[in-house]
């Protein structure tokens, strides 16, 4: 098992955002988390690499407990890619330098090795020709692809995607999704929070439906879409389909 999440709890003031979330992820699997906004999906992702510290519960990456205070969280984070909703590319760095920074400063690669690796990853997301461009000179879709390249370059054991297409204009969503589809096919382990039901249906090995800080239901897409076990799941899927269209 690559990732195991056990009974995660997180509270912001009075509001309990995560109320005991448990699930696991096998190597090479893609799981998609869906659910209404404000139900703790993003918080869950951030608790997994401890960008947000969970109040209670444990997270294991290949049997190393990364929620243990003894663990060097920077070493762990280097093994977990994170793709943000609003990209968060480093504004002052070119696409190439965005991808190189972690390679040089975290992984200790030489500048030459890092450049070679970074160019490879930029090519993989179709942006080799944009290596010298600054984030502000790229479209949203291109920025998100660079941020995926930045995550990929670190050679992560899994990548967490936090609504990677939600900040994009509709016509730019496709290019990001197709990069993600390719990634999933290549065997990358992925945990994706998204409203893109088409992506969820065609790529996910399993879909997790979350609401109000708990997992309501999880299962293969076929089952979840065709025979949801829980009325809340059915209700959510009906509404999201109206909003985004059947195949996304």
């Amino acid at each position: 098992m690559l990732l195991r999440v056990e009974n995660l709890h997180k509270r912001y003031g009075k509001e309990e955002v995560l109320r005991g979330v448990s699930f696991s992820l096998e190597k090479g699997e893609t799981k998609v988390i869906i659910g209404p906004s404000g139900t703790g999906k993003s918080t869950l992702l951030r608790c997994i690499n401890r960008l947000t510290e969970p109040d209670r519960g444990r997270v294991f990456l290949e049997d190393v407990e990364i929620t243990s205070p003894r663990v060097n969280i920077n070493k762990i984070r280097a093994q977990i890619g994170f793709v943000f909703q609003d990209f968060n590319l480093f504004t002052h760095l070119t696409a190439l330098d965005n991808v190189r920074l972690g390679l040089i400063r975290v992984k200790g690669l030489s500048k030459r090795e890092a450049t070679q690796r970074a160019l490879q990853e930029l090519a993989r997301v179709g942006l080799a020709d944009k290596a010298k461009a600054y984030p502000a000179e790229l479209s949203g879709g291109q920025q998100q692809r660079v941020s995926i390249a930045r995550a990929l370059a670190m050679d992560p054991k899994l990548i967490l995607f936090d609504e990677p297409t939600s900040a994009l204009d509709p016509e730019l969503i496709g290019e990001v999704l197709s990069v993600m589809v390719e990634l999933a096919k290549s065997g990358m382990t992925m945990l994706v929070v998204t409203h893109e039901m088409g992506f969820a249906r065609s790529v996910a090995d399993e879909i997790i439906f979350m609401e109000k800080g708990v997992i309501v239901e999880q299962g293969p897409p076929e089952q979840l879409f065709k025979r949801p076990q829980h009325p809340r799941t059915a209700e959510f899927l009906r509404r999201i389909t109206e909003l985004y269209g059947g195949e996304g």
């Binding site: 762990i76 968060n88 502000a136 930045r150």
Partner: protein
């Protein structure tokens, strides 16, 4: 009345100019180093480092809340009573540095805080330590954003440094005072000195504009600036 200007003033004024430049450059540079540290403490010192936040804040409030002149006098005339006798130049440089550091700290703090919070998140998510994130992601952006207010501070200090003549430093102002007193040509001497300051300010402004353009990065600017 006729105005009389003499070439003979120039060597002294040039010496004064050099001292003014030296004082301004040194105090601005040292003040920048101290200012960045103060700003970092004010923004990032939390948990066990919280005392540094308190110290930095107290420092900034004290040095921004009292006149530069008072600080200079306290250092030069006050410290000897504690057995510390400073050379006029040293006292001047120290007062200017301590004072500008407090102002620069505020400019840097504003700049650091205007870097979007997602930048730190993304850096930490990659596995960079907080210190690395500050060094490689936050400061390179914040320092660029701080150039315009920093330029203002430089212009201010260039002129403000004139207070050091009061403890006997022969900077541009000190030399002017000496010449004026000896030759009874107050008006003329101060006109010349004013022009010197004006020229300096102009040169510095042009140079910093150039630096700002050279270091400009698309998409990196404070709201309202292109």
């Amino acid at each position: 009345m006729t105005l009389v200007f003499r070439w003979a003033w120039l060597p002294r004024l040039t010496q004064g100019l050099a001292l003014t430049l030296e004082l301004t450059a040194l105090s601005m540079a040292l003040g920048a180093v101290l200012g960045v540290m103060l700003a970092l403490a004010r923004v990032y010192a939390k948990g066990p480092l919280l005392p540094f936040y308190g110290l930095a804040s107290a420092y900034v409030h004290f040095f921004r809340g009292t006149p530069l002149l008072v600080q200079l006098m306290a250092l030069y005339y006050g410290l000897p009573s504690l057995g510390i006798k400073l050379h006029p130049f040293t006292a001047g440089l120290l007062a200017l540095t301590l004072n500008t550091a407090a102002y620069q700290a505020e400019y840097f703090r504003g700049a650091i805080q205007s870097v979007k919070s997602g930048q730190m998140l993304a850096a930490r998510a990659l596995g960079l330590t907080r210190l690395q994130a500050i060094r490689y992601v936050i400061l390179p952006q914040a320092l660029r954003l701080a150039i315009p207010p920093w330029s203002n501070e430089l212009v201010y200090m260039l002129k403000g440094s004139a207070v050091v003549y009061l403890v006997g430093v022969l900077d541009l102002m000190g030399q002017a005072k000496t010449i004026a007193a000896r030759e009874f040509r107050n008006f003329e001497v101060y006109i010349v000195v004013a022009l010197f300051y004006l020229a300096l300010v102009f040169v510095f402004t042009v140079v910093l504009r150039w630096v700002e353009r050279r270091t400009h990065i698309p998409g990196l600017a404070l709201p309202g600036r292109a």
